[in-house]
Symmetry: C2
Subunit: 339 residues, 2 copies
DNA sequence: TTGAAAGCGCTAACAG
DNA sequence: CTGTTAGCGCTTTCAA
């Protein structure tokens, strides 16, 4: 493997000249510059990142910390990860993958040994303890998700409150006056700071504003739970003509269950989902949905982190505006359907 | 951040002694050893991987190259990735994530700059061109998947032929005599070396051996295609009492479609799937399945790569034996059902 | 069993 | 505009 000395010799210049051609940190005559470039190409030279990072104290590698535990939906994860890697490469930065369980000690090691410049942490439900240990690492970091206290962190997330509201707005615009909400499993609402809670709040608030009646219920991810929840919902409020679903696991069962209960989608019941795009398009009919912009999330997180690495000021909390895509599961309510 | 010199000073020894305590490459008296260890702990010292890799020419980082394009199923991907990362960490190795599209030039850069020691490449459908460029990189690599020519590579994959056979064996054991096979989309069978082809061959061969009649058809991933395929199948061969499905996208629709055609699962038609485990358990009823051992695949790939890094001889092709798990979708055929 | 010192490949003063 | 040189933090001879 060629070294910088090889290139210098080959081009008939000093090593520092080669280095400066590479970094652009001082003016070099076009003549030597191109001579050096030619030598570099000819010898197939690449700077050793080891030696380089050892001198400049910077690796151009960021760690991406993913939680192992479930509850994080797969498509979201993969979309986010590929977008993050692509965006990072675009800035000449590589991504080191770490899993959430190799927590404290491993992370310390990675920063202690100067292996990465910063952290990208994916964790919707991060708790204070983890936030604290993150801060203790002393390296710039960006959190994907929105913890209780943003306090001194940089976070990026979908604006779930706006997402919940967008669903209601859409349905109200179509003429619906009674909507049901199938939410996350019950446990998710214990934390009034979680995204489940925020979506629900946004939905409820928008419903009040628009004067539509909303009935909300938590749901588990299996068919039986979905069926039971819908039965209960339709019994309690037979006038319901629209459904907002914020539960990726349950999503696949909703239309099936509604059909089993004798309701057509759309027609008898319109459905709007809050979920990654490919989930909404893989049902039949494809669902009108507020998409969780996985790719955008990853991209923005990288951008923010790189901003911090370059000592730029970045906003502490970035909330991505929801985007509602209309598909076959929602339609204007026929005139006079709701007296 | 503490350096090795700090530790040496603090422990009252030379830097080389500290280094040797760390590497264990020469005997050190227990007295100094523990003194050095204490200083290390006290100062919170970690070896700089930059400086280290710059001298020893080894980074303890491997690249994991994932294809971006779809066709690779998400759950498989995430399971594989987390297992690989975990296994690698277990060997003190970190994982650098790369996406398949940043192909040639980026990969060259990563090896040229000495950023990684080897490659883990996930690509079921890798072509000769990519294999060649992989070999040209000149670093140890392990391929997850099985290309046409294993020639000089190290590969690990599920034994799809055995998987296809296992499905037939199971169904034949239960008494089924007529089985249908819902395969991958048509295009997947153009390559007679792909995993789709191999599963199909294994199934057909086993059917012949067991004297059961098999009818095979390709399938797209949407509900309509599945429904049409099943209609066609049942029309062509009404005696079919069992179905093998090797199509993850279609899987979710199979039971629904069978019900729409008036068949109970199990009972009228038994279903066996070849798919990742969590896909088989998320349908109702849960499906008997041959699982694609995503985690095992990742783990083995890492083990093989580390073997190569340590200059151990490793088998060129590792085929993981399929494991069939019986669930609610298959049952013994009632006596006399098939005269 | 330990230390001194050379060297890994690169960058960044310092010096023209 | 360019070269010389002293580091960066670590490993590994060589010498005791």
């Amino acid at each position: 493997m060629a070294t910088i000395a090889d290139v210098a010799r080959h081009a008939g210049v000093s090593t520092s000249t080669v280095s400066y051609v590479l970094t652009g940190k001082r003016p070099i005559s076009d003549a030597t510059k191109s001579r050096v470039r030619a030598s570099i190409r000819e010898l197939g030279y690449y700077r050793s990142v080891g030696a380089r990072s050892s001198t400049i104290r910077r690796t151009n590698v960021v760690a991406l910390v993913l939680p192992l535990r479930d509850g994080v939906h797969m498509p979201l994860l993969t979309g986010l990860v590929t977008a993050a890697v692509t965006a990072a490469r675009h800035h000449g930065v590589d991504v080191l993958l770490m899993t959430g369980d190799q927590a404290a000690e491993d992370l310390r090691g990675v920063v202690g040994s100067g292996q990465v410049d910063g952290f990208l942490v994916l964790d919707g439900e991060i708790d204070d303890e983890r936030v604290a240990s993150l801060r203790r690492l002393g390296l710039p970091s960006v959190l994907i998700g929105q913890p209780a206290a943003t306090h001194g962190l940089t976070c990026v997330d979908l604006d779930f409150e706006a997402a919940g509201a967008a669903c209601v707005e859409h349905l109200a615009d179509l003429g619906h006056r009674f909507i049901g909400f199938l939410g996350a499993p019950r446990a998710a609402y214990r934390r009034t700071t979680g995204f489940a809670h925020r979506a629900m709040v946004g939905l409820s608030a928008a419903a009040m504003r628009r004067g539509v009646t909303s009935t909300i219920m938590p749901t588990a991810g299996d068919y039986c739970s979905v069926l039971r929840a819908l039965e209960a919902l339709l019994r309690a409020r037979p006038a319901v003509t629209a459904l907002v679903v914020h539960n990726e696991a349950a999503l696949g069962w909703v239309v099936t269950a509604l059909r089993a209960l004798g309701r057509k989608v759309p027609g008898d019941v319109d459905v709007v989902a809050i979920c990654p795009d490919e989930l909404a398009t893989r049902t039949s009919p494809p669902l009108t949905s507020v998409l969780v912009p996985a790719g955008e999330l990853g991209r923005r997180a990288v951008e923010l982190l790189i901003g911090k690495l370059e000592a730029r000021a970045v906003p502490p909390l970035t909330l991505l505006a929801p985007r509602l895509v209309t598909r076959a599961s929602t339609r204007p309510v026929p005139r006079g359907a709701h007296p």
